[in-house]
Symmetry: C2
Amino acid sequence: MNTNITLRDIAKALNLSISTVSRALTDSYQIGDETKQKVVAYAKEHHYIPNRMAKSLKEGKSRSIGVVVCSIDNNFVAQMLDGIDQYCTDHNYQLIIMQSKESFEQEKACVNLLYAGGIDGLLISPAYQTTDFDYLIDLQKSGLPIVLFDRLSDHINTHKVASDNFKGAYDATMHLINNGYKSIAHISSNTKLSMATDRFEGYKKALKDSGLTYREELVKFCDTSNATSLHQNLEKAIQELMALKNKPTGIFTATDQLTTKCLSLINQLGYQIPTDVALIGFSNTDLADALHPSLSTIHQPAFEIGNLATKQLLALIANKESEKYDTVLLDTTIQARVSSQKN
Amino acid sequence: MNTNITLRDIAKALNLSISTVSRALTDSYQIGDETKQKVVAYAKEHHYIPNRMAKSLKEGKSRSIGVVVCSIDNNFVAQMLDGIDQYCTDHNYQLIIMQSKESFEQEKACVNLLYAGGIDGLLISPAYQTTDFDYLIDLQKSGLPIVLFDRLSDHINTHKVASDNFKGAYDATMHLINNGYKSIAHISSNTKLSMATDRFEGYKKALKDSGLTYREELVKFCDTSNATSLHQNLEKAIQELMALKNKPTGIFTATDQLTTKCLSLINQLGYQIPTDVALIGFSNTDLADALHPSLSTIHQPAFEIGNLATKQLLALIANKESEKYDTVLLDTTIQARVSSQKN
DNA sequence: TGGTTATACTAAAACCTTTTAGTAATAGTT
DNA sequence: AACTATTACTAAAAGGTTTTAGTATAACCA
């Protein structure tokens, strides 16, 4: 427990009123220079630290925001959190991070705890499982500013920041096609969130624009909500794909986890990349260069997504009446490496 | 802003006093069953949420802890944070994360902000730069429970949790020796923290126990405080090592970043692993298997370190007078792969 | 009947701030 | 001299909770 001195202590020591001390410390015009200096000096000498609880209680603001992500232990998420944290630190907000672990129930629990904890605003990247946004809309109605980031949904109207998933997927698929791969599989995550559908649409559009026919058996949706099911589902998916009579020559994977795990599994199953099958996918891993073979990726501006989402949230906190909401989609970049090279 | 109802609202609505309502909600023996039920029902119906600021102010506790790490965007750190978060969530504590970015000044700023923010305890993994622990000792004296994790120091007396770095380093070095590599370099981080010296000692002990002579020119300390200097320093270090007349046949790297980056750079510089030089190092990357070549690692129980450190901290918060402090060192595990295999 | 004891409730203080509404004293204006 | 303005301060309320110290009523006992 803080055993700190309070305004009252300073007031008593200097024979002033509490309000004078409070005002002196906030450099109010109502206080004379001499008094101000005395107060400030005393406060510094005795390490006065304003009590945040009291201040928050009084002001009805906590200068903290909550963020809910699927998992901290996720390379891409960590990069976004870095961007969020930087903006918060620069603007004197505290950051409270919670994990949904891809469970809708847990996500709801997190959000409720954060709300009860008195956050001034919420940043949320919904769990894959989540389809119901009503509880968020309720909170929004009762005055909590909310910004969606990374994983968006049309079911709630607010500021949203993410990658341009459609374009990223289109680029990735086009890249494979341009490098001579004409039979392209798509492996994505089993979720209703627009992220997955956008990427799926980008993939289909690229096929269409290239005059290739869309084949349903080349598309797999895996449960990626935890490492075990990811592994099992993905292994099964790859095996099924490679067992097709007309098997894919290239694969486009839709998420970070899927992409790196896919590379591992293809190697493990004894196929050569890109000779047997080429691979490109969404991933922000720093190790793309060092993988076997080096991995072609669609890279998302993770830091910027976090940063911008936080900026939007703080703006929303500052003036609540904003009735026009933006959806910002940031460009991905394609990083071509060996795993998808012409052969 | 929470537009929530308060105890006063409930009291007014039910024609009771505020204290009765407060007590009814905490199921006090002083309140009759009928009244309790009425209050609880009304509270539930109107979504009463206790105001955390008011409660914290009153109780002098915030049920939140602060954690300072070098960077969120770091695989190993993220795993520890996962462990910390889990323990916090399970015990109803809020977690406030801040980053030092390996700067002592920033670390101090973080800690001060957290302290001012009213945390009940602090979890800290000091920056590489940090050598001065006096500011932490001061905070400790004024009643803030502190637990050091991952990166320890002898300059402060408190609970500490980390890996058994000495043993991990010893095992790694021994592994190389046993696989036939007799000229072993050690690349570590440029820090005064015991983590680095422990690993260095483990390396030397393994050489000694194997009758190999320690050669100073085989040991490099790199500035790893940011990606750019890591890259530059490490590249230089590797080039210098490989330019030696009696050049190393194996390298043992001391940190996650150094290990993976080292693999990248060795490949990039055109050497074959493990033929030209073998590699093993501390790393918790999930992608060890998928790297080229697959990477031998010393794996730290990151989640457990975070989890246990948090447990110790909450225990310290619960009863402050604990005068006996523990240092717990958890075992690392060696994961041998191609990068260090016999050749 | 008088006295104790539970029972069921309440008033008010306390936690520490910020802020509203004020006071007292001096200076400036006509 | 009578007025307003400015300066420098203070008292007290408010924010929502928990808790201390109480009160009033009914029940029990001798």
